[in-house]
């Protein structure tokens, strides 16, 4: 349905591109580029907040849809829209982009014009993935999100940046080409590139072999991005080398693209294959949770630790998605009813809960890990190392920093009252009713998470006696010489507080956010149930 509001999405989507071009064309001085970029990034943020309010949850479904002809020969069009799943993620994208641009304005002083051009371009491509409802459009945005991130890592990254950037690019490229083949398969089965229409047409229904092939094609594309164990090996390198804002966006938004794709495309389009392979998703998710957490404990580099914690935390998302997928179709639901002796409604509720948990985890992980990467960046600007062995006793020296890190770390650990808790609760509660053993196995990860958060981060970096001989060279945030660790300065606080506030808000009162996700989770389950 075209509504007068539908132009909002197009403006939201293309504004960052316009901003990127303006940076190139009008960016005469570095300070102008920085100021202009910050102001420019406020428009998508404002529009995404508008979407949060304008979305009518009573009607549900896709809203603000817009169509335009693009490649009529292929029946591929410009079709965008947003629903309860994508709207909070769009908000997350805009929020993290704005904060990243704002933070970068304080720390990036080299090749400023290119940097902000790429940041805007990145925002454009990420918004495009969340908005696209046409496979070709989706794939185009999906792929071009690689390019700016590749340059961000490669130009402003650490010592080993060339290797990390190339690895990031190649891994995700191979995954996405597999997805491209699956997209083409869907096209030839349904005759359309429209994601909604194609899902309604149920490609390969009744042919499990072909459906599984397509399912795995998409899975490879998404799993490399999530990243799901064992496709995660690019992530620690990319994160460790990337500049702070790059890591924030990478962890905060880019990883979500994969999980979003699973929810938007895989589950509704291939319900039978999803049921068939659900145990794999759950298994990979649970393994990622435990494995990622164990690897975290062994890290000596703070940023690498947080990168691995992403692997672990994105495992929750996979776990939730897989668990819900396992009971999606009427047949699977019926057999689950027999197996567990629960009512169909109870199992449906659990599935919805698992999906809500997964979606909530996507959002929360974006906020929490985004904040953690900012904090790592803040300490790195001062210490110029991330070696955990060289920190200690910072709590007394940098109390503000300590407080924020403590909050974000506890949110990451899943402390009740902070955002992370609800996602873990929902995911495990939902998955437990459907896949009890895997869910139980996954809970080991929670314990290990506590180990690395409390021991590796909090104790190692902040507690104990401050020993000046561990690290002698300190600078201020501006890079001037300092005698010891200095606390956060204004622009860093401004970057951090919105994220910290969001953690508390969602932790204390998650209902408004869950409402969006629950809407689309219910719709997804109902869609699959009503297919036959």
């Amino acid at each position: 349905m075209e509504s007068p509001d539908s132009i909002v999405l197009t403006i939201l989507l293309f504004w960052p591109l316009v901003a990127a071009l303006l940076v190139i064309l009008l960016g005469r001085s570095d300070s102008l580029i920085k100021k202009g970029s910050i102001w420019a990034s406020l428009l998508p943020l404002g529009l995404s907040i508008y979407l949060l309010f304008a979305y009518d949850s009573n009607t549900g479904g896709l809203q603000f849809e817009q169509f335009a002809e693009w490649i009529p020969q292929l029946n591929a069009g410009y079709h965008i829209g947003a629903d309860g799943l994508s709207i909070p993620l769009i908000f997350l994208t805009a929020l993290l982009s704005t904060l990243s641009i704002y933070y970068s304005a304080g720390v990036i002083n080299e090749r400023v014009k290119e940097y902000f051009f790429l940041m805007h371009l990145l925002e454009f491509s990420m918004l495009g993935v969340f908005l696209a409802l046409d496979y070709v459009l989706f794939y185009v945005f999906w792929e071009i999100s690689l390019v700016p991130m590749y340059f961000l890592i490669g130009i402003w990254g650490g010592a080993n940046r060339g290797y990390a950037a190339t690895k990031f690019f190649i891994y995700t490229l191979v995954g996405s080409v597999a997805m491209l083949l699956a997209i083409l398969g869907v096209y030839f089965a349904t005759g359309t590139f429209d994601i909604v229409e194609a899902a309604a047409a149920q490609p390969f229904a009744g042919n499990l072999t072909l459906a599984s092939l397509a399912f795995w094609g998409f899975f490879f594309g998404f799993a490399f991005k999530v990243p799901s164990f064992p496709f995660h090996t690019w992530l620690p390198d990319a994160h460790t080398e990337a500049p702070t804002a790059g890591s924030v966006i990478l962890a905060g938004v880019l990883l979500k693209l994969g999980a979003y794709g699973m929810l938007r495309i895989m589950l509704p389009s291939f319900p039978e294959a999803s049921v068939y392979w659900a145990t794999w998703l759950v298994g990979l998710g649970a393994i990622a949770i435990v494995y990622g957490a164990f690897v975290c404990v062994a890290q000596t580099d703070l940023k690498r630790l947080i990168a691995y914690s992403s692997v672990s935390h994105m495992g929750y998302v996979m776990l939730g998605i897989g668990a819900a997928a396992a009971v999606m179709t009427p047949d699977a639901l019926a057999s689950a009813v027999n197996r567990f002796g629960l009512s169909a409604e109870a199992i449906q509720d659990s599935a919805a809960m698992a999906l809500n948990g997964a979606a909530l985890q996507m959002f929360n992980h974006g906020i929490i890990t985004g904040a953690l990467f900012f904090l790592v960046g803040i300490i790195y600007e001062r210490a110029h190392t991330r070696d955990l062995a060289r920190f200690g006793g910072l709590a007394t020296k940098t109390p503000h920093f300590y407080g924020l890190m403590l909050t974000a770390a506890f949110a990451s650990l899943g402390l009740p009252g902070l955002a992370g808790f609800w996602a873990e609760l929902f995911t495990f509660r939902g998955a437990f009713a459907i896949m009890p053993y895997w869910a139980a196995f996954g809970t080991i990860g929670i314990v290990i998470t506590a180990v690395y958060i409390l021991y590796r981060i909090i104790q190692n970096v902040f507690l104990g006696e401050y020993d000046p001989s561990k690290l002698t060279h300190w600078t201020t945030a501006q890079g001037e010489h300092a005698d010891g660790p200095t606390d956060m300065v204004g622009f860093e606080k401004v970057t951090m507080w919105p994220l910290i506030a969001a953690m508390f808000l969602i932790g204390i009162y998650p209902t408004p956010l869950v409402k969006y996700f629950n809407q689309s989770a219910r719709e997804l389950l109902a869609f699959v149930q009503n297919l036959i």
Binding site: R111, Y139, V140, I170, L181, G185
Partner: protein, 501 residues
Amino acid sequence: MGDIGYLAPEIILLIGGLFIFCLDLAYDPGVGKKSGLSYMALSALFLTAALVAAVLQLNISDPEAGPKVAFSMMTIDNFGSFIKVTIFSGMILTTIAGGRYMNRRSGNQGEFWTFFLMVSLAMSIAASANNLVLIYLAIEFLSITSYMLAGFLRENRRSNEAGLKYFLYGSIASAVMLYGISLLYGATGSLYLHDIAAAFSEIIGESTEISGLAFAGLPAMLLILAGLGFKASLAPFYQWAPDTYDGSPTPVATYLSTASKAAAFAVLARFFIVAMASFQVNWVPVLAAFSIITMTMGNLAALRQNSVKRMLAYSSVAQAGYILMGLVAVTSNSPSAMDGLNGVLLYLFAYLFTNVGAFLVVMALEETVNSTHISAYRGLIKRAPWLAVMFTVFLLSLTGIPLTGGFFGKFYVFGAAIQRQYFWLAGIGMINAGLAAFYYLRVVREMFFTQEGEGEVLDVPMALQTSLLICTVATIWIGVYPSAVLEWVSNASVQLLSVVP
């Protein structure tokens, strides 16, 4: 106008070539003189006229009306015209960009641009020829002029090697192809593609058994494939390509890897789709095997190169493998939107602008810092930002990243393969696409990830910049809005497929 009118592009090129040749007899400018550029300008002028003629033919001929035939040996259809448009576009861009490069290196400007027009003429004839003897003559004409152009810098040993190597391989390939043609003539009694097709379909009929004289079709097909595969630089006939591209003057390498390849693919497509229609079950696996070997060999070899020019040479071998994938997946009976032939044509068109652009960047670096080694590209973003950005566009297009023409080329050939359910072929293509990203990105990495690099800001000639800009705009245009090109492409392939018996 009749038959003569149909041959307008060829006639324009012939007159142009002879005109420059005669002018050269009367006036010889000498090395590096400004007036040497006037020959380049004339050449560009005639090529543009030929391009206009080809575009007009493309728009005039009604796709429903069926192809026209000129002097019985030339089929003037949308397919041929589209290929001509592709070829001439590449030749014009190369001419404009390469004028100064050639003028500085050789005094025989009139000679060079005469050959250049003659090469275009040969390719143009090859794109339309429907008779095996004319095909052979066109290919031979194309080859001989190309040998001379590749070895044109007589004082340069690398250039001599390039020409000689090309010649030695090429003459064997021609002989092999000629043998294949004679076999076909013996088996069917005709040299016309249609008559050959008709004769074979009569012998083979509805049965899938190959019997009697039809047996001659199989070896003939392989022999001709060897001859054409040499021109299209398919593995295992590609060994000449890296040395020749590397040693030739860069404008020559540019058209050898693009326009000349387009002409070879036009002949391949016409020969296999029209004349060998009855053998489709036989040639599909053969071409598929060639496609796989070509892209894999090309990509593996390109990974190890340190000269960007040589890397592009191997990359263009690999690209030929992808294009061949489209030909493997041709559906002659019921062409759909994403038919393999559409893929071949779209890929050729997008690839032309992309690869011409990439070679022009190499030329720009040769012009300014006189090196093709990858270290010359170090920190290019600082010395020549726009050059680095444009090269990145071309490299991303060669990788197949969206919003560039190369993406839709790959999209179409992969799509055609999936449509025919050649999943394994598409899968190998997929792995290759990942592999290729390695060496394309390596150059991007050198250009952008460091600002060190030696030397001053590069002074790239205006004409070269213009050509580069056109290539960039075309590459992005096809990537963003491919509809217009797709319209031409599908008109072209529908008309070729419609005549398949």
